[in-house]
């Protein structure tokens, strides 16, 4: 099969997918969870419970406040102990609902059996309402409320539905395991999206380094007309939304515009699976699959984790020797962020916990720019990071605007390839910051 890729930039990185063959296992339940009220982009959800309330798994804790917001559900059963502000790992304080566990009781409305539900009975608007009330957000890492993404603004038309199963970040295997284990469910989720968007077809894009997921999904999609698997070249950042649209449709999302402006809707496979669970099984989003891996981890695993579980608890279950760890990263090692407080909770957007050794996490000394242009070749958005660095040093906002620093997707390819080890991504971030402030 011929593989495709996006037209500009991209880098080859070692994928380290050491946990790709390890089945997803359910993590032991923590005694205490901290469930943040903001696990998405937008306004924080409004708290609906009081201290002392008894909750079950699936009880609504906080309600979406406004259009761009999402419901938050309890992930364990027990008593609400505190509504407090804790460190989110990066030092910012976030409001969390702290629940102490008693047993493991589920709300009765959920269907927890393994039976496959293939019939989609609801109509378009009802389906969208279910997605909205189940608190589903983009689970690839951005956390944009899915209900908003699936409502197409007036005057615009979607013609392509792309399901993102690329997972181009090193170490992460959560999506790849999900595609292998829940292939049929994902296809039904795709069908639900088809119905909501009024599109007949869908393309499931998978990285060529996931042969088992490709085989499994290709075999199943034979039975579903209109759903196709497309194998994409293993190159970073293939999984970026704009890059993926370019790969599949050869369209380019113009600067400052959204995928819907070129008729595309992109959804992550984990989000699609959450949609299946919400619509067919009435299970709201209170758990997710995440990968615990990294070069400091001899025990790479894929866990099904309840939202709100402290990261320190996940690491303890994974028997990590914290003495040797230099850095704990939430998300993938390319775009993820280092955290400093391990009591931070797992959220709907946490796709992995990566542990790096002290040697790998040390920043190399940077030397002078030799203007080799490797960063320009690598940038998937066609920007010129070396010139952006110059403009940041001169604090030239006009130049930054001309260099389109706002289009930077912060994939980190420029910093990765730079032979002088200049932290170019940091300069791009400063450039974006300078343009965004008054």
């Amino acid at each position: 099969m011929k593989t495709k890729t996006f037209s500009i930039g991209g880098i080859h990185i070692s994928k380290h997918k050491s946990s790709a063959q390890i089945p997803v296992e359910e993590l032991a339940l923590p005694d205490i969870v901290h469930i943040p009220v903001k696990q998405h982009i937008g306004t924080p959800a409004k708290i609906k419970v009081k201290i002392g309330d008894k909750v079950k798994v699936g009880t609504l804790l906080a309600e979406a406040d406004g259009i761009i917001s999402a419901n938050v559900f309890s992930s364990i059963s027990g008593e609400v102990k505190k509504i407090e502000e804790i460190n989110d790992g990066k030092g910012w304080l976030v409001t969390v609902i702290t629940i102490e566990r008693e047993g493991d009781e589920f709300e009765p409305y959920m269907d927890l059996s393994d039976d496959l539900m293939t019939d989609i009975s609801d109509d378009k608007e009802a389906l969208r309402q279910v997605i909205r009330s189940a608190g589903i957000v983009g689970m690839g890492g951005a956390g944009f409320p899915t209900a908003v993404k699936t409502s197409i603004p007036e005057g615009k038309k979607a013609d392509t539905l792309i399901i993102n199963g690329i997972e181009c970040e090193p170490y992460l295997t959560a999506d790849s395991r999900l595609m292998e284990e829940k292939a049929e469910q994902i296809i039904i989720g795709v069908r639900i999206l088809n119905k909501i968007l009024g599109i007949q077809n869908a393309i499931i894009a998978i990285d060529e380094n996931k042969p088992r997921a490709i085989a499994k999904l290709t075999q199943i999609t034979k039975r579903y007309v209109g759903v196709n698997v497309r194998v994409c070249k293993s190159i970073y950042p293939q999984g970026g939304e704009k890059q993926l649209i370019n790969t599949i449709t050869e369209r380019e999302v113009p600067s400052g515009m959204l995928p819907i402006d070129v008729g595309c809707v992109v959804q992550n496979v984990a989000t699609v699976y959450a949609i299946y669970e919400a619509v067919q099984k009435h299970i709201p989003l209170f758990r997710r699959i995440l990968t615990v891996s990294g070069d400091m981890n001899d025990n790479p695993r894929n866990y099904l984790v309840r939202v709100g579980t402290p990261i320190s608890f996940v690491l303890k279950q994974n028997k990590v020797d914290m003495e040797k760890v230099g850095k704990v990263i939430i998300g993938g090692p390319m775009m993820g962020q280092t955290i400093a407080a391990l009591d931070a909770p797992v959220t709907k957007m946490t796709s992995g916990i990566i542990l790096l050794s002290k040697e790998t996490s040390d920043k190399p000394e940077s030397t002078s720019c030799i203007r080799c242009g490797k960063c320009v070749d690598a940038c998937p958005m066609g920007l010129m990071p070396l010139n952006i660095r110059q403009a940041v040093n001169e604090n030239n906002k006009e130049e930054l605007r001309l260099l389109h620093v706002q289009d930077c997707v912060q994939c980190g390819s420029c910093s990765f390839v730079c032979p002088a080890k200049i932290p170019l991504l940091d300069f791009c971030k400063i450039g974006k910051f300078e343009l965004s402030r008054k």
Binding site: G91, D426, I430
Partner: protein, 277 residues
């Protein structure tokens, strides 16, 4: 052969004469009548082009000074050159210079290495703005100084330097021209341009908006919004768990009292700031 060369020379000379005539005519026709005063004033100005006066640069400020009436001139001030420069311009114009008060930048944070010890190891790029994008702060304070000196780099008068012991930037009041470059650069907006009143200044050296108990966990000198300073002067505002002393409050009259009233020593009272000025 010779005739060809001669021919070329003649054509080119003809063109040159023609161009000279056109240029002379254009220079007469489109000449801009500029007051010689602008040039003279521009010569007096410091040529820093920093924009602290609120104008595009020194040339722009010079033309505004030249065209200003005696009354308007009272309100004009070059913060860099200060009173001396304005008086020179005033004598040139034959008017009276305004009584512009001297201002300088102050750092509204006292989260030094001692008061707010590091809790995390930051290994990234040594720039406050880069650090600001990935974390709340080395000490945990989300509003405090990141102590990496972006402000020191941007100050073109050398008025800022990082104190080796505290890690915080220190303002040299003699050199500070209140141009405001540090105010624009600091990602946390910690600098403020405040007037110097009779060589004295009083301000709250904290921007933390967390509740007192939370703020104190990270920093010993964080404002806890207890309201004691407000009992002395009720124009002091307390919003978002943070007290703010407006510049209208007189430092010589109330500065000492205010500083003494603060239980966490977040109010700074400076005296004898610019000796011999």
């Amino acid at each position: 052969m010779v005739s060809a060369i001669l021919f070329n020379i003649l054509i080119l000379s003809g063109l040159a004469v023609l161009a000279a005539i056109v240029l002379y005519w254009a220079s007469q026709k489109f000449a801009v009548q500029e007051s010689p005063l602008v040039g003279q004033i521009y010569e007096i100005l410091p040529h820093a082009n920093c924009g602290a006066c609120g104008r595009a640069g020194c040339q722009d400020f010079a033309s505004i000074c030249a065209n200003a009436s005696a009354e308007e001139f009272q309100n004009l001030n070059c913060p860099v050159g200060g009173r001396k420069v304005m008086e020179k311009i005033a004598t040139l114009k034959g008017v009276q210079a305004g009584e512009a008060e001297r201002k300088c930048a102050v750092l509204r944070c006292n989260g030094s290495c001692q008061n707010a010890p590091d809790k995390v190891v930051y290994t990234g790029m040594k720039s406050c703005r880069a650090a600001h994008s990935v974390m709340s702060g080395r000490s945990g304070c989300p509003n405090g100084c990141l102590r990496m000196g972006d402000c020191v780099q941007v100050c073109q008068y050398g008025a800022l330097s990082l104190d080796k012991e505290t890690g915080l930037p220190v303002v040299d009041y003699k050199k500070c021209t209140s141009c405001g470059a540090c105010v624009k650069r600091c990602p946390r907006g910690l600098f403020e341009i405040r007037p110097i009143q009779e060589n004295m200044q009083v301000y709250v050296a904290c921007r933390n908006q967390q509740k007192g108990a939370v703020a104190r966990k990270n920093c010993k000198v964080a404002c806890i919004a207890c309201g004691k300073c407000r009992q002395i002067n009720d124009t002091i505002s307390i919003e978002n768990n943070l007290s703010y002393i407006p510049p209208s409050i007189s430092a010589p009259e109330e500065g000492e009292k205010l500083a003494a009233s603060c239980p966490v020593k977040a109010i700074h009272f400076r005296q004898n700031m610019i000796e011999g000025d």
